[in-house]
Structure formats: C-alpha cells, structure tokens
C-alpha cells in the first residue's frame, strides 16, 4: 500500500485535537462538512496576524500527505479531528510521533500515521514548503517515505501496519466474525455471571 501525492506541512509539537477541530464543531450529529472547519481557530488567528495558515494556501488544497511534528493529535478522543482531515483530503500522515487515540482513530478511517526521525520530518517539511508541487510517497510495504531525493525510513506498529496491508483496518468485520467466541469469553467473566458461588 502506497499513498502518493502533494503534501502539506503543519508545524508544531503537541498539536491537540481541540486545535484540529474546536469543540463548537462537535455540536452535530454527523461528520458531514467538518473539513471546512479543520484548524479553524488557528487559521483565523494566522489571518488576523497577516499570515497564512498552510490549510488556507490554495496550492495545498487536496494535499494527500500531512507532515507533522511530535505527539500530533494529543488530547481529546474526538474522531471529528481525523474525520475532518480525511474529508479535507489527507490520506496519510507522516510525523515524529502520534498520540495513541488519534492514531487508532485515523487507522479506523484508513488513514495511516507513520513515524520518521525528526531530521527526516525537517527535511520533508523544508521540501514541501519550498515546492508546493513536490510529490511525497508513503510506502507501508517498504516502510519508506520518499520525495524530492529524500528517502527516509518510517516505522509503524506492526499490528496496525498488518491491518493496512491486509486491508482490514476497518476492524468491524473481524470483530463481528465470531460472536459465539465473544459470548463465551463474556460468560467466563465473574462480573458478567454475577459472582456466582464456584460450585453452583
């Protein structure tokens, strides 16, 4: 599985999901239209300061690869954050590291998050900031991220990678395959069976 396309760099450590998707946009019963509000408060703040947020740069519209720094997606478990990124067009995220719940949420949506060394993030960010048309490719099979002469090794937890390669990142089918086994496991738990006496 390889994701190839233009990229957008989003600088900053510990970017939390409140920033990716401010809470007021969680006031909804569907995920539709969230992409319009991704990083909304940061975008407004940049605009007010006379600068331009990368997500407001027309040359970045529809970029498939998002480049980030350390501990991306920390904080709230809101899936609205990766949903908005995916709906905006992001199909893979490359960064130094990811918060755990964000990583699982993105995985469940079919958006792989791969880790590369800080210097590789720096080089990739410099590349795409210099050249908006630069093509970056994320290869899960070969565990590499390539672009503009950069060839970086990336890592991903084996199980999540296995799920992507097998096409089973949407775990529902696997988890619902054998409900008898689930029932049997539940029945073995003393708190499910009401702490009955051992010999009853």
């Amino acid at each position: 599985m390889t994701i190839t396309g233009r990229a957008v760099a989003l600088r900053g450590e510990d970017v939390d999901t409140d920033r990716i998707m401010p809470a007021r946009f969680l006031r909804a019963v569907s995920f539709d239209g969230l992409e319009a509000h991704v990083f909304e408060d940061d975008r407004r703040a940049e605009a007010a300061a006379g600068a331009r947020h990368p997500f407001d740069d027309p040359a970045r519209a529809g970029a498939a690869v998002l480049l980030v720094n350390r501990n991306f997606g920390c904080g709230s478990s809101r899936e609205h954050a990766p949903q908005a990124l995916a709906r905006w067009g992001v199909r893979a995220i490359v960064g130094e590291s990811f918060a755990e719940i964000f990583f699982s949420n993105a995985t469940a949506l079919g958006v792989p998050c791969v880790s590369v060394r800080p210097d590789a993030v720096r080089d990739l960010m410099a590349l795409v900031e210099r050249d908006a048309a630069a093509i970056v490719s994320v290869d899960l099979e070969g565990l590499t991220v390539r672009g503009g002469g950069i060839d970086a090794v990336c890592t991903m937890p084996a199980a999540a990678r296995g799920a992507f390669l097998a096409g089973t990142w949407d775990a529902t089918a696997l988890l619902t395959a054998d409900f008898d086994a689930v029932r049997a496991a539940a029945a073995r738990l003393p708190y499910v069976s009401g702490f009955r006496p051992a010999r009853a």
Binding site: E13, D14, V29, F31, N71, G75, E100, V182, A186, L189
Partner: protein, 472 residues
C-alpha cells in the same frame, strides 16, 4: 515472576489473536454519551446491526447539557437535537440511559463509579479520552473514537495493540493543601505530555495507598494528559469499601466473592514492569499550569520559565505558549490575575472536591472582578453537597451554583470564556481555545487552589488561606 493487573485483566478479556497480530479484547462495560455516539449509532443502522450486549452498555448526557435552565426543549437547538438523538438511539437499540430526568445523570466518569457500574478487573471503554478515570478502581479503562464506539456497540470488542506498564511510585505523605491534582500535574511535568504513549500507568506507593477513591480518580483521570491511554491503581480495602452498597455492585454473599476476586487481580508483588518511576510525594507543592498543555506547570511559589530555561527542541513551544498566555518568563506564577474561576469537571467535580473548595471560601468573598462557577459532576454529587449546605457556602461567597454537567471544561454548552479571559480551572486541559473562546486562557490547578484564586482575584497559595482557616 508475577503479573501486573494490566496483564491479568488483558488475558481475561482476550477473545482471540487477530490475523493482524492485534488482540480482540472484550469490553466489559461500555459507557456512551451524546457527543461521540450519534455517528456510531448511524453506522450501525446503516449496516443493519444491533447492539451486541446492551446490558453491558450504559448512556448518559453530560457535555452539551445547559447547567442553568434545563427545561426541554433546550434553548440551544443543536443541543436539543443531540439530546434527542441520544434518547432515540438508546430507545431503539435498548441501551439504558441516565437522562436529564434521571437522578443518576452526570458526567459519564463521575456516574460510572458512583453507581457501582465501574468495578475492579473490568475492561471499560467510552468515546471519551478521560475514560482512564475508571482505572482508579483497578479497571483497564480507555478512551476510543467514534468508529471504535461503533465496533464496541456491534461486537462488544476492540482490536487492540498491547500496552507496556510503567509503575509510578509516589513516596512519603502529601502536605496539607497539596492534592491528587498536584500529584498528577507534577507527574506530567516530569514525564511529559507524550511520556506515556504506549504505556499504562500504574500508580502506587504510600501516597496513593492512602488516597480516597475520589483522589485516585483525579489521578487516573489525567493519565491521558501524560499520553497514557490507561492509568490504574490496584484495588484494595479502600476500593472494596467504596463499592459496598452501590446500586450496580454485587450484594450479599456475592459481594464477598466479588471482593475476593477484585483483590486477586491486583498486580503481584513480584510483577515485572517495563519501567519504574519514583516521585517524592512529600516534596510536592500546589501546582499551576502557565502554558498551553498540561505538562507546562510550576509549583505555586516558582517562577514562569522561559525559552532559555529549556532544551532546544522545547524552546519554540515555550515561547509560543507564553505569547498566547500573555505571561512573562521569570515572573512568579503567584499573583497572576484571573477573571473566571471554574470548579467542576470529571477531574475535580466530586463531593470531596466541592468540600475542599468550600472550606477555602467559607466566610470569605470572591474578588469583585471574578466570575465564579461551581458545577457538580453529577446530580448525586449536587444533592449530597446541598445536604451539607455547600451550595449556601458558595452562594454566600459570590459563586454561582449550577446543575451537573461538563460545563466550562470544554464549553460545548453556554458556559464559556469571553475574549482573552484568564480562568483558574479545576479541569484537565489548558489547550488554546479549550474553554470556548479561541483566545481564552486556562490555568489548571486543584479545586482548593481555584477557590483561593477566586477569593484573591489572582493565583495565590491556598496553603496560606488554609492555615488561616485552621487558626481561626
């Protein structure tokens, strides 16, 4: 070699190894709220699936509920729509709901323990990152996203990667005026906001052993702010005593059998850990955050650090945080003016939190420029506080006494900061814009410290007020 609680609970709940190498883990208790569930129920409907084990699933409403007027329909149309969606989903899928009309409504992480739903040895999942709170009981409890909520609804299971265990020993004894909130803020400051990624945190040592269940919940609640999806305390006599007589706890002989089982799943004395950390509990002081993540904190008598005080990779982040907060490096954090005081949330909205805050404000007045809100974590907390007259203490001090809910912790309801207001808050996140204003500023601290800040109109060392209270 013995096992950790995490290892034992994990094994007990393993249904099978998935072909991907992940574990299919059974979820013993699934808690649901209105914000992260509507899309999951819709996906279920779309696929024609039922809720697999509706009797292991419970719902409540907390994030969007107004904390002043709660008459239906809500004044806020979107809140009403979300509330109605949860009611309809629970009815349609047979999930019990502790709704607004129920005496048991409240923040999901407050009511689970309160009702005795949360028990040792369980796996607990909820579409909310602070699910780690329930680890206080020796449960393995973690937050999930909406697609995973759908998976748990449909299968009662999750596909999980294994976790390592870091034991954090807190030695000594806490000084008066130093609380569980200060312990966890200090831990996060030391280990960092991503130090816990890949780990479950096991909290142990004399300070944790002596903590009440409320305090252990505060500790475990903020594990996620340190990057750890799971935090837990081994069940002991305190845990068992808390659960006795709770509505969903076993009764009679079954309770004794349960208690024996609960104790048996605690980590063995010779368990092996992937990492161990020691914290000197006796040396801790009240903590206050100065930055825009929960790891950026200082003791109340310390100075705000600057970019020069940290290593290179942190410098830009510190400069950015100080610019946002409008704080100056090198100044004491004490004396920082506050506009708003918020006492509540799943971190510190329990009865003992309100008692401590009331102890500080009793007989005092909130500074005239401060707007103060006290929001109990649940209706039961609210009722218990009123039976003790705490609402009168707060009102006489000039604080508003509200209905139960998440309120200004994340401001999905009308309780919000305005503009660049500075809020002394007993909640768990000081992210930019977290409390409802894109430029609002949050200082995290214990409820007693919030009460002290409300009275002084600025960040102040609660230990001074407490000494005065004690002496009078």
């Amino acid at each position: 070699m013995g096992s950790t609680l995490l290892g034992k609970v994990w094994d007990l709940h393993t249904v099978r190894r998935l072909p991907t190498g992940q574990t299919q883990l059974l979820v013993g208790l699934h808690l649901v709220h209105e914000v992260t569930s509507p899309q999951a129920f819709d996906m279920l409907r779309l696929r024609g699936q039922a809720v697999a084990l509706p009797d292991r699933t419970f719902a409540t409403v907390d994030h969007i509920v107004p904390t002043d007027g709660q008459a239906r329909p809500f004044a806020d149309g979107m809140a009403e729509q979300m509330m109605a969606a949860l009611e309809r989903n629970c009815r349609e899928f047979g999930v019990p709901l502790f709704g607004l009309e129920s005496d048991d409504q409240g923040i999901v992480h407050v009511i689970g323990p309160e009702l005795g739903l949360t028990q040792p040895g369980m796996t607990i999942a909820c579409g909310d990152s602070h699910t780690s709170t329930h680890g206080a009981f020796g449960a393995v409890a973690f937050g999930i996203g909406t697609s995973q909520v759908r998976d748990v609804l449909a299968s009662q299971c999750l596909a999980m990667d294994p976790l390592k265990v870091r034991r954090i020993m807190v030695s000594g004894a806490l000084e008066p005026g130093v609380y569980a909130k200060d312990v966890i803020l200090a831990i996060i400051r030391t280990l960092g906001v991503q130090g816990g990624v890949g780990f479950a945190y096991e909290y142990a040592g004399p300070v944790v052993d002596r903590m009440t269940m409320d305090e252990r919940m505060t500790l475990c609640n903020m594990s996620i702010e340190g990057g750890a999806r799971v935090g837990y305390v081994n069940p002991d006599g305190t845990t068992v005593a808390y659960l006795k007589g709770r509505r969903f706890a076993p009764a009679g002989d079954a309770f004794d059998r349960a208690a024996a089982w609960w104790r048996s799943i605690a980590s063995d004395p010779d368990a092996a850990y992937d990492d161990e950390v020691l914290v000197d509990g006796g040396g801790l002081r009240p903590m206050v955050t100065w930055g825009t993540n929960p790891g950026q904190s200082a003791a109340v008598d310390e100075r705000v650090p600057g970019p020069a005080d940290v290593a290179e990779p942190e410098r830009a982040a510190v400069a950015d945080a100080l610019a946002y907060m409008g704080l100056e490096a090198g100044r004491h954090i004490e004396g920082t003016r506050v506009d708003v005081a918020f006492i509540g949330s799943c971190t510190n909205g329990r009865l003992s939190d309100l008692q401590e805050a009331a102890r500080v404000v009793r007989g005092r007045r909130v500074a005239s420029h401060v707007r103060g809100l006290v929001v109990p974590g649940s209706k039961r907390v609210r009722d218990a506080a009123e039976r003790e007259g705490l609402h009168e203490v707060f009102r006489e001090a000039g604080l508003e006494w509200r209905q139960a809910g998440c309120s200004m912790c994340l401001a999905m309801n009308p309780d919000r900061l305005q503009g660049r207001e500075v809020c002394a808050s007993s909640s768990n996140r000081n992210f930019k814009g977290r409390q409802g204003s894109p430029t609002g500023r949050t200082l995290l601290m214990s409820p007693a410290m919030v009460a002290a800040a409300a009275v002084a109109g600025e960040v102040t060392d609660v230990r001074r007020l407490l000494r005065h209270t004690e002496g009078s």
